[in-house]
């Protein structure tokens, strides 16, 4: 973790110091005045220390970017509970933004990190988010160069919301995207699916036990390892909300192809399967936050799997399906069951809910 910066001009015993306000965020913390400054100096800067952020200017001025095409992404993050096995809102938000850049083939560089906090939020919880964001940034090799904090009255926000933008560069010669997906491509996943969504749902519905943890992780180094191996990768996606099935739908739709997944090939950890069974969920529709789906040319499938599996985040990587030509009037995404039948995997109307029927 970054070294503690020396405290700013405000000492910890002053009434505006974050610690002295009795451990909860107040409306004044979002007012832009002394309390905001105290929050920034005592909480944000020490954890996220970097030269760009430390200037605390209205905009971060970055050095010239390396050659290539610029990638820019943004995401908003809400999660209940905000701290869960394997992560927290802060860690999740940085990973999510980093991963959006990584799957586009961009080397992530700079992130912004903006918070809307609910009056009454425990400062300790905020510190957890900040430490989580810092940890993710360090793991991903990115810097959080700009941020903002607003505070809304109690009852008008669910503890904390995060919005994050990410800037990266796609090196010259690299061209990932659904336009490159073609019939014959192999569909790979970098690890077991559904860990994040199952963990969060388990927390919400009183399911406990060891072994359940979000897969939340920054994927940039895994993606670079895969691309460096020389295999022909056509597209990458991170199956977040809606899970693998929803992501495959998006790709099939954009590339006008058909995706056929093999039920027996899809890795699901036993604990995740148990949570899904208990709540009536289908793991194929449950979010991952540290996995990527890769569309690679068929002849490179095995080599691609080896490259992924060689990376610490690629444990349990598997080939889960293939791309076929789109059939008119037929489902764009299908699942081959263990019994030799095929059934369509449709788009969900909304989020999966626990059911009893």
């Amino acid at each position: 973790m970054a070294n503690e910066r020396s405290r700013g001009p405000l000492n910890t015993d002053s009434p505006t110091s974050a610690r002295a306000t009795g451990e909860r965020i107040l409306l004044a913390h979002g007012g832009g005045g002394r309390m905001t400054q105290a929050l920034v100096q005592e909480l944000f800067l020490p954890a996220l220390a970097n030269p760009a952020l430390a200037t605390l200017s209205d905009s971060a001025i970055l050095d010239a970017l390396p050659p290539g095409r610029i990638a820019l992404t943004t995401d908003a993050f809400v999660v209940d509970p905000p701290v869960f096995p394997g992560g927290d809102l802060g860690y999740l938000s940085v990973c999510g933004t980093v991963n959006d850049l990584a799957v586009a083939g961009a080397v992530p560089g700079a992130l912004t990190w903006a918070l809307v906090l609910e009056e009454g939020l425990e400062v300790e919880l905020l510190k957890t988010f900040v430490r989580g964001a810092a940890r993710a940034a360090a793991e991903a090799g990115v810097t959080i160069v700009a941020g903002d904090t607003k505070v809304v009255p109690r009852g008008k926000g669910d503890r904390a919301f995060v919005a994050s933008a990410g800037l990266g560069v796609v090196p010259p010669g690299r061209d990932l995207g659904d336009h490159r997906v073609a019939p014959g491509d192999a569909v790979l996943v970098t690890g077991p699916v559904g860990d994040h969504g199952a963990t969060v749902m388990a927390c919400r519905h009183g399911l406990g036990g060891g072994g359940l943890a979000s897969d939340c992780a920054p994927l940039s180094s895994l993606v670079e390892a895969l691309l460096a191996s020389g295999v022909e990768v056509h597209a990458l996606h991170d199956p977040t909300r809606g899970g693998v099935a929803t992501t495959c739908h998006e790709v099939a739709s954009k590339s006008d192809t058909r995706v056929a997944l093999e039920a027996t090939a899809i890795p699901v950890r036993p604990q995740v399967r148990a949570v899904c069974e208990l709540l009536g969920l289908d793991p194929l529709y449950v979010a991952c936050e540290g996995r990527a789906l890769a569309w690679v040319v068929e002849r490179d499938a095995e080599r691609a799997l080896a490259a992924i599996a060689a990376h610490p985040l690629g444990n349990g990587a598997a080939r889960i399906g293939r791309v076929e030509a789109r059939r008119p009037h037929a489902a764009p995404v299908v699942l081959r069951t263990p019994f030799g039948t095929e059934r369509p995997l449709d788009l969900l109307a909304g989020a999966e809910l626990p059911r009893i029927c």
Binding site: H205, G206, P270, R273, E277, L279, G280, R327, H329, A330, A331, V334, T337, P338, F339, G340, T341, E342, R343, P344, L345, D346, L347, L348, A349, G350, L353, P354, R355, I356, C357
Partner: protein, 365 residues
């Protein structure tokens, strides 16, 4: 015990299918088997089992989805209650998108109604404990499997004097619609796959009448692919022999007499009433209402303004529920009625016949 894997063993599935084909060869004509459990509909569709059966064995879904058969008026009342000051409506997730006359519980929540999804009636009771100044109304839908859990929550509320926990009962029971279906001239069913978890509570003896009075074979089966196929095999084999009997094939959890503790708890709080089944109309003695002596727990007694129920025009859910048509025969299916904009209840619940068909069977893969 990863029982799920072994009860879904592809080798056993293949073996059972071969037996079914062999038995079907001795059938005098094509037969129609009906399952009456939404969870069966889902399980069969998810494994693609229908497509594996020989053409002489037709497997259809009956009115087994408790959400689908919940009348519009019930959802209207639940919505109205959610807008009532000081009220929290707690519901299973299954009900949240069911279309009412004016919207749904999901939309009610978006426009300010306090609607909360729970996994268990006990969770609703916990909400009542945590909010003593509010009235928590639990939406009691479901068949015999679920009613005891609601009764148990009521028992706990009584024992702990949690006065602000009420139930709006939309519960229904299974044997009466089976009788109604069997005597309906439009419905041509030769045998039933009986709901395994309902039977856990009722006992397989409760369904003996299907053979004794209705003259049809029926099997109590579980929900894994091998359970369902063992049931299909048993029915086909008995139809080939023209032998009507009710067999329990889910012996690992179903007994002849069922769960008497659960039934006694249900009897303490609920009594049979006539009930309306969406799409099927009124079926005598097929519903459960809270007994008069627990009127203080009965949300049906709350005065609240409810719109005139509006059944969607053109909707053929009733015929789908009876198994007389497949979803594609309804003009609304996959045109104006889709999972994202469901008109009829059969499409809303993911176990509804139309939803299951749309998701798993629609496209010719």
């Amino acid at each position: 015990m990863n029982a799920a894997a072994t009860f879904a063993d592809p080798g056993a599935v293949r073996g059972l299918l071969a037996r079914i084909v062999s038995a079907a060869g001795r059938l005098p004509r094509r037969v129609t088997l009906m399952e009456v459990c939404g969870t069966h509909t889902h399980a069969i569709a998810a494994a693609g089992l229908r497509r594996l059966l020989p053409p002489t064995v037709r497997l259809i879904a009956g009115p087994g989805c408790p959400v689908c058969v919940t009348p519009v008026g019930y959802v209207d009342r639940a919505e109205a209650l959610s807008h009532r000051p000081g009220t929290i409506v707690a519901t299973f997730g299954d009900l949240i998108r069911v279309p009412s006359s004016t919207g749904s519980l999901e939309r009610a929540r978006a426009s300010g109604g306090d609607v909360r999804v729970v996994y268990s009636p006990r969770d609703a009771l916990q909400i009542a404990r945590a909010n003593p100044d509010r009235e928590v109304i639990f939406l009691g839908v479901g068949f015999e499997t679920t009613v005891p859990t609601v009764a148990a929550a009521l028992a706990e509320a009584e024992a702990d004097h949690v006065a602000n926990f009420l139930v709006l009962s939309g519960h229904k029971v299974m044997p009466p619609p089976l009788r109604a279906l069997a005597s309906d001239p439009d419905v041509k069913v030769d045998g039933f796959l009986l709901p395994g978890h309902v039977s856990v509570i009722t006992g397989s003896d409760a369904f003996a009448f299907v053979a004794e009075e209705l003259g049809m074979p029926a099997v109590v089966v579980g929900f894994t692919p091998t359970d369902v196929l063992r049931g299909v095999e048993a029915l086909v084999e008995r139809l080939a022999r023209r032998h009507a009997e009710v067999v329990n094939l889910y012996t690992r959890v179903v007994t002849a007499e069922g769960n008497t503790t659960a039934r006694m708890l249900v009897d303490r709080f609920f009594a049979p009433v006539d009930a309306v089944w969406r799409g099927l109309g009124a079926i005598p003695g097929s519903g459960l209402a809270l007994r008069p002596d627990v009127a203080h727990r009965d949300a049906a007694r709350i005065e609240v303004e409810v719109p005139e129920p509006v059944e969607p025009p053109g909707c053929r859910c009733g015929e789908v529920l009876k198994g007389t048509i497949d979803p594609p025969a309804c003009p609304l299916f996959a045109t104006t009625c889709t999972p994202t904009s469901a008109i009829g209840a059969c499409m809303v619940s993911s176990e509804g016949t139309c939803a299951a068909w749309y998701r798993h069977e629609r496209a010719q893969v």
